[in-house]
């Protein structure tokens, strides 16, 4: 029976982006009849539209598959899907901690990539049994032998029996299922100990409250028990326990050691059931929580403002709703002279930021203005005090600053060797410190740099992709803070600081950036009734200046007889144009001007 502990397999699938993780998951569901063929939409596990569109998994889910193996027994296979992006590294690590094994999917046309390695090392850190699977063997450019050799060379995994599959066509999927049964160990589990269950995901549901996904490591939990979150101390009465089928939840009497499932307990926000926390019961509490819990802190901040000030409340509602489901998202009200009322929001990384922004615009139909993303800087003040700054507006007077520190990352770029030159140029330009370079194979390299986080949060990945025609892959980890020469650039229009455009930058880059910003603004601010000086300053010192000349001509000097409607239409058009303007002091600044400055990249 599938309920026997030795018949349980808890596993996840890890892969570099686009190597076919989600497609393989779909095939596994299909082959185990977990989902009727007619219900199959592509990539069932990625439930959010956005995930499906971007081909990435944002939130992990767990699904139980019943599989009748070649040995005649039926096994309960718990597939725990993991987010596939570096921004969600901590969530990935918690998902891995819930498993005994991992399927490593490698694209037979591509080979080992940055996230292949990063995820593998992460899985090895959790002592997972790794089952390599070579995917996309149906493609004409597939070279499974070369890729198998690469996996053996680079990672040191035996690939002699690795299934060679096509998740797309369904070829050899049974081999993968058999491998899960034979290679991945069953959980070591003791029902008699006090309950300890690891939360690896939590999702807000408007009917049931938060659905907490757990891996029970020891003991049992059942409806009616009082559960306690060991890190937060919060307690709730368990309403329901169960496990997920591909499309519907399946309630069960209890969850016992070794099992993966969900708990509902009328929990109001995911902040009360944080990923990584340990669930125990009040009746028989565990002494120690499971190791590895940490509260994830946002790494990237930016201001988000409604384009139309009247949407402020709607924006707050939308953020609150998103936060119900995303404990890593933080926000607090912020006021900007230029943009009015909005929120300072914190994110795990730039992808996280983009996802939230897109969801706000798409699902909540909001028009937004976002300010330049900023990392968290540490500033050492003359009085010996250290402050953390995530908003350039709060940057202290330069006279009070002794030194500044900025977060650094350890970054690996994997690329065909022909792009080494261009990648090194890029990293050098982004103030990178070269560490070393390894040849993975004769024509593929691993370039290792230390890069400041603020140089990569914005457009680094896009630039890297375009300069290497999409071949390079990238992975980074935040390592700590280092001293750095930072300055704050202020933009002044007609003598007034536009707070929303201020940002913190390394002093070596200040002058060239300042000149480009001034030019962009000059080109994008329409002429007004008076001359507008555009100045970029550090402290009180102006380092770049342009001028938007006063408007001279905006007139309908033509004979239209009695065609007054034409004149009126002209005024209407003017009104439309004004709607997209932000009044700042005396100066009207169109949204495009903000965007032009915010989107300034290396190509400008």
């Amino acid at each position: 029976m599938a309920d026997k502990k030795e018949n349980i397999r808890n596993f996840c699938i890890i892969a570099h982006i686009d190597h076919g993780k989600s497609t393989l998951a779909d095939r596994l569901l299909e082959k185990t009849d977990s989902v009727a063929l007619r219900d199959m939409t592509e990539q069932l596990l990625d439930k959010m539209d956005l995930e499906r569109e971007r081909g990435i998994t944002i939130k992990a889910h767990a699904v139980r598959l019943d599989y009748k193996a070649a040995d005649g027994d039926t096994y309960a296979l718990n597939l725990i899907d993991t987010p596939g992006h570096v921004d969600f590294n901590y969530e990935v690590s918690r998902s891995l901690a819930a498993c005994e094994g991992a399927i490593l999917v490698v694209d037979a046309t591509q080979g080992v990539e940055a996230q292949t390695l990063a995820n593998t090392y992460l899985a090895l850190d959790h002592d997972l049994e790794i089952v390599p699977v070579i995917n996309k063997v149906d493609l004409p450019s597939a070279d499974p032998d070369r890729v198998a050799a690469e996996i053996e060379d680079v990672i040191g995994l035996d690939c002699s029996t690795a299934p060679r599959v096509s998740a797309k066509t369904g070829l050899n999927i049974e081999q993968v299922l058999e491998k899960i049964v034979t290679d991945i160990p069953s959980p070591v589990a003791d029902d008699s100990l006090p309950c300890r269950a690891l939360i690896f995901d939590s999702v807000y549901d408007s009917y049931k409250g938060v659905i907490v996904y757990v891996r029970v490591k020891e003991g049992k939990i059942k409806p009616g028990d009082t559960l306690v979150m060991m890190a937060s101390g919060a307690s709730f009465t368990v309403v329901e326990t169960g496990y997920m089928r591909a499309t519907v939840p399946q309630p069960c009497e209890e969850l016992s050691a070794g099992q993966v499932g969900y708990i509902t307990a009328s929990i109001k926000t995911v902040g009360d059931a944080r990923v990584g926390d340990t669930v125990t019961t009040a009746a028989n509490p565990a002494k120690e929580p499971l190791p590895g819990y940490r509260k994830v802190n946002p790494m990237v901040y930016c201001g988000i403002y409604p384009a139309d000030g009247a949407d402020y409340e709607a924006l707050r509602d939308a953020l609150e709703k998103l936060q119900l489901n995303d404990a890593a998202l933080s926000f607090e009200p912020e006021t900007s002279g230029a943009l009015g009322f909005g929120f300072r929001c914190g994110f795990l990384g730039l992808l996280h930021l983009e996802i939230i922004q897109e969801r706000l615009e798409r699902e909540y139909d909001l028009d937004l203005v976002t300010t330049v993303p900023s990392v968290v800087y540490k500033i050492n003040l003359a009085g010996g005090e250290q402050i953390e700054i995530d908003n350039p507006t709060h940057y202290p007077d330069p006279a009070d600053i002794v030194s500044c520190e900025e977060p650094f990352t350890d970054a690996h770029i994997y690329s065909p060797s022909e792009y080494v030159g261009t990648i090194m140029d890029l990293c050098q330009d982004r103030r990178g410190v070269f560490k070393n370079m390894d040849y993975i194979t004769t024509d593929r390299v691993d370039i290792h740099y230390e890069l400041p986080l603020n140089e990569i949060i914005y457009d680094f990945f896009d630039t890297l992709k375009s300069r290497t025609r999409g071949y390079a892959s990238f992975d980074y980890e935040i390592t700590g803070y280092r001293q750095s020469k930072l300055v704050k650039l202020d933009v002044l229009l007609n003598g007034d600081i536009v707070d929303a455009l201020s940002f913190i930058i390394h002093s070596d880059k200040a002058y060239s950036k300042a000149r480009r910003i001034a030019e962009k603004l000059k080109d994008n601010i329409p002429r007004q009734m008076f001359e507008i000086p555009v100045q970029i300053a550090i402290g009180g010192k102006v380092i770049a200046r342009e001028t938007v000349k006063a408007m001279r001509k905006d007139v309908l000097a033509k004979c239209y007889g009695g065609d007054i409607t034409r004149k009126k239409k002209l005024l209407e058009k003017q009104k439309e144009g004004k709607k997209r303007m932000r009044k700042f002091g005396t100066v009207e600044v169109p949204q495009e001007a903000f965007m032009a400055v915010l989107k300034l990249d290396d190509n400008d």
Partner: protein, 366 residues
């Protein structure tokens, strides 16, 4: 409702199409002119209104021929002292032997003629596709005067490809010396659906600053010669303002007949479709909605030198422009674009140049 109004007649015929023009006109063919005149007269008979200004605009109204103009005017109930304007092409009325009865024109009641000179410089007119110049205009004016029509207006254009402040000066010199009582100065605007639109990149158009300079130059020169700059694009010797056009700017009602003609009647604005056959067929004008609100009134009044006179505004709408309006006006006055007095707000010449912006800002503050 007064029954004494302005009458605008749109004559949609031209011998050829000028390359910059997007007004509705076509080359007359068959008996279209005859049928148009009949359709016009049928409508005039039904108006039952009395008019104190009549304006034949186009197109090229002079192309109708004096007999038709006279026939049309016989069907208009005209008050004594009515201003009756005819737009005319100098290539027609200033040609060597014009087939045009100036005496009959005068007898029919026409007492004001607006001649489309555009430029006294041959190369500039050639660019615009217009042949008749100084010589023809001089002749036309002489003939009109001999027939007793002394109230002559000339149309001049700025921003013509190749135009410079010097060439503009020679055009303006000619206009002043010609004895014209009224001069309209328009800026060339490149309109979609014109040949100029397609070729605008090849046109040697004066840049924006030069066009602005030329506007200020025109205003300075003509006011120096005794003309009043009484509206954004219009200059006249004292007492020779276009009474008809003033009605537009004073937000008064008017009846417009002819394809593409606009009307303002009973508080609503209308226009006829740009389709001469539909007009002949008896089509009704299309309603553009309610007109004449305070915003529209301000928009039009600010085009005039006299500007927005508060008492007139109060008489019409029963309230005074508020503090926000005056505050905005004073702010704009600081930049030199308008002048605020206890009785009125009026744009300066510099303000005329950016009147769209100034008017918009003031209406928003109304």
């Amino acid at each position: 409702m007064t029954d004494c109004r302005a009458l605008y007649i749109h004559v949609p015929f031209c011998r050829g199409k000028c390359r910059y023009c997007d007004f509705y006109s076509l080359t007359p063919h068959g008996d279209v002119v005859k049928r148009y005149v009949s359709a016009l007269i049928r409508r005039l008979e039904k108006t039952g209104m009395t008019f104190d200004t009549v304006y034949f605009g186009g197109g090229t109204p002079s192309l109708l021929g004096v007999e038709n103009i006279s026939e049309i005017l016989k069907n208009v109930d005209i008050l004594p002292g009515c201003e009756i304007t005819l737009e005319a092409n100098p290539s027609q009325i200033g040609s060597e032997e014009p087939d045009f009865d100036f005496d009959l024109l005068s007898k029919s009641g026409v007492n004001r003629v607006s001649i489309g000179l555009q430029s006294a410089v041959d190369s500039e007119r050639k660019m615009l596709g217009r042949s008749a110049g100084k010589e023809q205009v001089t002749k036309a004016i002489e003939r009109l005067r001999n027939a007793g029509i002394d109230n002559i207006s000339l149309d001049v254009m700025t921003g013509i490809p190749g135009q410079t402040p010097e060439t503009l000066k020679s055009t303006l010199d000619f206009c002043v010396q010609s004895g014209a009582k009224h001069i309209s100065v328009y800026m060339l605007k490149i309109e979609k659906n014109t040949p100029f639109f397609k070729m605008q990149n090849q046109l040697n158009l004066p840049d924006e600053d030069t066009v602005c300079d030329m506007y200020l130059q025109t205003s300075g020169f003509l006011t120096g010669a005794g003309f009043e700059h009484y509206e954004i694009s219009n200059f006249s010797l004292p007492g020779f303002e276009s009474r008809h056009n003033l009605k537009y700017w004073h937000c008064e009602e008017y009846l417009g007949l002819g394809p593409a003609a606009h009307s303002f009647a009973d508080g609503k604005r209308f226009h006829y479709e740009r389709d001469v056959e539909a007009f002949i067929g008896g089509c009704e004008p299309v309603c553009d909605g309610v007109g004449g609100d305070a915003g529209e009134y301000v928009m039009l009044a600010l085009r005039l030198k006299e500007g927005l006179e508060f008492t007139r505004f109060f008489e019409k709408f029963g309230f005074m422009p508020g503090d926000a309006f005056l505050k905005k006006a004073k702010e704009i006055e600081k930049y030199g674009f308008c002048v605020v007095s206890p009785d009125a707000v009026a744009l300066t010449v510099k303000g005329f140049l950016i009147s769209n912006t100034v008017i918009y800002e003031l209406i928003q503050a109304l």
